[in-house]
Homo-oligomer: 272 residues x 2
């Protein structure tokens, strides 16, 4: 496959079905490149286009999406994941738990259904890389939107314990309560984590994007049997993951997590 | 150029600029095929997608277009050409005279400006084919939307006389009054026309689409020096044009007229 095929849909016609990725800003998104290539490979006469829409205009935009007959679904990125979920007609279990969604489809009955793939992509990617999830011990920094999504996905994957920390204690309280209600057998802990004794460490905060940021976890006793996942996209390999690679750990970057979601998003959109 | 390139844009990314053709129905439109090929050839990172929007939903759709930052313009087809012109912030002279527009761009100051290319495309195509326009005698059947557009374009092209007929006499009255106000030197006539003595005959009605339709004009005395133009798309060569071709006339089909508009539309959109 040549580089030119990344982002290239099938030829468009009046019968082309329409999908979008909506966000603000939009120029940085990778979805048009990834999904048009997948649509082309699958021979699906559809195109996914970028649409730049400010937070305060989302509801206006969605009204137009609903009345555009050949508009079948969309991917929501910053800052729309909460508002889009609020305006949807239904949510998957995962999206309902997280309180947000990043992919929406129009069902045959006209209802718009949201699904959240951030957490499922992160944890699915870790599983594929061989991380120990079922019965494992996990620690996570960050209990915001993406943190909620990943924590529920870790619980779904059967981790035995989950240690959570976030500078915002209220977020931790809320997420621990929600997790406890749905997963009574899961051992929940709070506070900063060291690497020792954990099978999985997840950074679900922006820590590592700025030079001089502290590490998300104390990695002094990090062993090769701990898997590390980061959500940040720049730098592509965060300082935490660099250390993990030096120690021989399984590591998953933010880009890996994005790639792991592509199939989940195509499936929710009815395209795979 | 292979058939596959018709409708193929450049690869899409987050930086792709967005254009649409909006109509109801939409599956029949040729614009995505034509314009994506032109955009690709010109190396412009933009895509034109079809959007199916019902007449009553147009205003809702346009509100969303206005707040979508990377949406730069659109082509309006049936049934939106009048409402779209009404909602635009400004119109070209041609669109203002016709009272409708089929192509709209967002200017750098944020204003949406409409232009009408149906008439200019029809008459420009006739000129390229060698029809006599300046000083010529023209007759036209149909004084509806496309009829108004073509009549003003014929007047702009300097025809000496224009004979108009339409089953709706009120339309003829209105168009003759509007033409007379702007082109006082143009000799205006009304009533059905025979071919004799005319340099140009234009059918701007659906006559010829249905089997058994009467001819738009009495062609009994049609000579080879009369140019014939039709607006209908099916059949591709109307019965009127078939007779014209038998007599050795210059003929222009509805598809020819659509093709003649492509450059005008690209220019109005700032893409050529």
């Amino acid at each position: 496959m040549s580089d030119n095929e990344l982002g290239l849909p099938l030829a468009l016609s009046g019968e082309t079905r329409l999908f979008a990725v909506v966000g603000d800003p939009i120029v940085q998104v990778g979805s048009p490149g990834v999904f048009n290539q997948l649509l082309r490979k699958a021979g699906i006469p559809a195109v996914l286009v970028p649409m730049q829409v400010a937070a305060e205009d989302f509801a206006t935009w969605f009204e137009a999406v609903k009345i555009t007959g050949n508009f079948d679904g969309y991917v929501a990125t910053m800052p729309h994941k909460l508002e889009a979920a609020r305006l949807a007609d239904g949510l998957s279990d995962n999206a309902r738990r997280v309180g947000a969604a990043n992919v929406f489809r129009r069902d045959p009955d006209g209802r718009w259904i949201g699904h959240h793939t951030d957490g499922l992509g992160c944890v699915g990617g870790l599983r594929e890389r061989g991380a120990r999830l079922a019965g494992g011990r996990a620690a996570q920094l960050g209990a915001g939107g993406v943190g909620r999504a990943i924590a529920f996905a870790l619980a779904d994957a059967g981790v035995a314990s989950l240690r959570l920390h976030d500078a915002d204690e209220g977020r931790v309280d809320a997420l621990l309560a929600d997790l406890g209600a749905e997963f009574p057998a899961l051992a929940l802990e709070r506070g900063p984590a060291g690497a020792g004794g954990h099978d999985v460490l997840v950074n679900a905060t922006p820590l590592g994007m700025a030079a001089g940021d502290p590490l998300p976890f104390d990695l002094s006793d990090l062993g090769a049997d701990t898997a590390l996942a980061d959500v940040i996209l720049r730098p592509e390999v965060s300082p935490m993951l660099e250390i993990g690679r030096e120690r021989g750990c399984i590591t998953q970057t933010g880009h890996d997590m994005v790639r792991a979601q592509a199939g989940l998003i195509m499936a929710h959109l009815g395209l795979a």
